[in-house]
Amino acid sequence: MNKQISQLGVVALVLLIALVVGTTYWQTWANAGLAERQDNAIRLVAQFSVKRGKIYASDGKTLLATNVRKRIGGQTLYFRRYPTGPLFSDVVGYSTQTRNQTGLEQSYNDFLTGSNANLDTVLHSTLDRLKGSTITGNNLVLTLRPALQAIALRAMRGKCGAVVAMNPTTGAVYALVSSPAYNPNLIENHFREAAHPVGTCGPLLNRATQGKYQPGSTFKVVTATAALDTGKFTPESPFYDPGYCIEYGKEVRNAGNPEAPEAFGHVTLFSGLEHSINSVFCNVGKAIGAGTILNYAKRFGFYKLPPLETPSNERVASGLYSHGTLFDPKDPATQVDPGRLAFGQERLQVTPLQMAMVASAVANGGVLMKPYLIQRIVSPTGKTIATAHPHAIGRVMKPETAAELNSMMQAVVVGGTGTEAAIPGIEVAGKTGTAETGVGDIYTAWFIAFAPADHPKIAVSVVVENQPGGFGGAIAAPIAKQVMEAALR
């Protein structure tokens, strides 16, 4: 029997050796793959055992995101708290266990958890891990100004829409507000309450970078850029406005633009922008063609995701949209209606951030700066490991064109459709927009502006949704004025 006993013993040992092999497989070969799986709660716990970096406003003092320590199951975990509540929600986003992450909490997760590839960070994180002490992430200091952010959000109270304010010469974003805002502290346990729509507007959408709106007459700035920069028109180019424009043999009436219902007769391109006369731009569009207008739009950044540090799925590109997707026509001459495109109709959909970039490029003498939200990244020991440097995306137009547009846009605020944005003692340049929504006399009110006109320090873009019979000049311009006034104070 001894032979069989030995054989059975070998079988028993082989079974146990198989267990050693199996354990080795899971702990060495497969463990990286398992660690990355979404449903791996251990990964989540590991994530929460990191003391995430704090997020500060531009003053370096106002805390936008910090941590609360809790002992759970014998481990110290850190949960996020957002001391400013809804004020910065659309930029900062949230980091929770059940809802994952959004905003900078998502896109800068690596820096905030100290897992970025920066040498200094790698050294500290590795040391912390070896010592078994808590890993601390890097802190972010944003460009957003708390006072400006608060003024913009207050001005938007009860309205749906967005405000973007930036420094046109550097690209630093000073305010980025989407209204209604949500309280990120409620996301974890009171998600329904946080996501509860105000009227018809859901608060979780970042309207400043994700909201797609018809630009209406604010797009005339883009058309005017194309008209002047190609040399085909000057501000003094004469037009005759009979109250309509003939397109494809049919009348397109100015009445479509409630800002300029009457016929102006003999005008120039300058007064066409000042009073936002649709027929003038309709004729400009027919003369230079849809292709040229779209090319200039692309120079302003249309058809690309606007560059910003928030997650790419929280930004959308501006441009023509067909059946819900971005439409870049191969043959614009036959596929796009140039007249309607020229005054901001057709199938145009733009974001408030994109329109702020349009205003900025004009303000900055024709050079478009890359917008940014993060001023610097600071290690837990206080060392600055990255600082933002202003970066020019490119020249959109000649300096002369920008100067001509600048004075035309000043005229809008001085005696045109945007007088509500006038600030005593400061020259403001702007452009109104009142876009049809397709529903009765409900409009989307727009205003884009910059100030001071001769030496711009701030450029803004304001959009307010669903305004019954409301013009951009009456509804959006006063909000833009408040924000600019506060920024220049």
Binding site: L13, I72, Q75
Partner: protein, 421 residues
């Protein structure tokens, strides 16, 4: 000593101080070990010197991890260990002169074993836990009779096969009768209790012992074929077993599938049926080479709920593997191997057929049970709920394991005594 260190490190990790509580626990445990040692020295002085320390070590690892998961469970487990050591002492004392008396009661053992296996199926006392009827509920006590039945079955088989081995070895067709009967019964038990792991264990022990007794590979081949056929048959008609196989083959799905736990609700399989297996694999993988350290592993979710259901019974290995890492888990398995090697050595040295069969039966059962549960956790075979010998939480399991240890010590004592003579 090991428990003291283990408890202390869990305590340090949990409370950042060594408290007297951990040392009290360790003191009691060490005292208990000393008692067992003295009993062994007195009753079976010639017995293998490795087995008791190994059992003590495994029990210590188990109690430490159970304590780490739930201090109140560790207290209950401690009580069970005391009861088990008492039973162990009584067994050694009663059978210290000649355990072979058991052989004459083999049919009593056989019938009792079958009876114990059938008890959970009975309506009043039986209880279904996780789809398998393995539990007996009497008064306030829960008991899993299968664990004791296993030991009794081995005693019965050792006696029966010793008596019939020559006849069976001839391999005449009519001698396949008992084999078929036992196969049928294993299948029946498997079908009725829906306990795939138990069925596999009992039948595996039977085949192993049959082979040792008869030296005929034919039996093993036929037995395996019959088992596979039977298992496929059971698989076809039992949704519970089908589910286990599905979980084993595809624990993760990328699209939502039917979830039997919440009818009319689709869900990813890793969030439904294979939740436990998948969470356990994450736990093991998280251990890496060196582990997180005792008491420092992640056993709860961010919300504080237990990460792996039944972590302290069937899934204790995944917690051990996480906290002690590959080094610790491999060391633990090595300890199991040493136990098996000593068991095989005892079977080789034993002088008579009954002793040899008893020793190898107990040893092989021990190894196979370890393989079935850890192999299930590691996705080598479909997962079935069964305890990890000496380590898992559970009264019946602790009792059965100490009886198994007593059996091996008795055989070893006699064999060594004969050799010295």
């Amino acid at each position: 000593m090991l428990t003291a260190i283990g408890f202390a490190s869990v305590y340090i990790a949990r409370q950042s101080t060594v408290s007297t509580g951990s040392l009290t626990y360790a003191g009691i445990f060490f005292g208990l070990y000393l008692v067992a040692h003295v009993v062994v020295r007195r009753t079976v002085p010639y017995a293998d010197p490795y087995l008791l320390p190994i059992a003590g070590l495994l029990t210590a690892v188990g109690v430490t991890e159970i304590y780490r998961l739930s201090p109140s469970d560790a207290f209950k487990q401690g009580i069970w260990v005391i009861v088990a050591v008492a039973l162990f002492a009584v067994t050694l004392f009663l059978l210290r002169y000649d355990y072979r008396r058991l052989e004459s009661y083999k049919y009593l053992f056989g019938v009792t074993a079958v009876g114990l296996l059938v008890v959970p199926i009975l309506p009043v006392v039986g209880q279904t836990v996780n789809g398998a009827r393995l539990w007996v509920h009497v008064g306030g006590l829960q008991f899993q009779p299968g664990e004791l039945a296993k030991i009794m079955l081995i005693v019965f088989l050792a006696g029966y096969l010793r008596e019939k081995r020559e006849v069976l070895a001839q391999g005449r067709p009519k001698d396949f009768g008992p084999l078929l009967v036992i196969w049928g019964m294993a299948m029946l038990v498997l079908l009725e209790t829906r306990d795939l792991g138990g069925g596999l264990l009992y039948f595996g022990i039977f085949l192993g012992m049959l082979y040792v007794a008869t030296a005929r590979r034919m039996f093993v081949v036929v037995g395996i074929v019959l088992f596979v056929v039977g298992a496929i048959g059971v698989w076809k008609i039992t949704p519970h077993v089908q589910e286990r196989v599905t979980i084993w083959r595809h624990p993760w799905t990328s699209h939502e599938v039917y979830c039997p736990i919440a009818p009319n609700h689709l869900s990813l399989r890793q969030n439904c049926q294979s939740y436990q297996l998948v969470k356990s694999l994450y736990s093991i993988a998280n251990g890496g080479y060196l582990g997180s350290g005792l008491g420092r592993g992640t056993v709860t979710t961010v919300g504080g709920q237990a990460l792996i259901p039944y972590a302290n019974t069937d899934f204790i290995y995944s917690v051990v593997a996480q906290e002690l890492g590959l080094v610790g888990a491999a060391a633990l398995l090595l300890v199991y191997m040493v136990f098996v090697l000593r068991g095989v050595r005892i079977a080789l040295l034993a002088q008579d057929g009954f002793s040899k069969l008893l020793a190898i039966g107990l040893t092989f059962g021990f190894a196979l049970q370890t393989f079935i549960i850890v192999g299930g956790i590691l996705r080598i075979i479909p997962l079935t709920g069964i305890t990890l010998p000496f380590v898992s939480y559970g009264g019946s399991s602790v009792l059965a394991n100490f009886l198994l240890l007593a059996g091996l010590l008795l055989v070893s004592n006699r064999a060594n005594r004969e050799l010295l003579r």
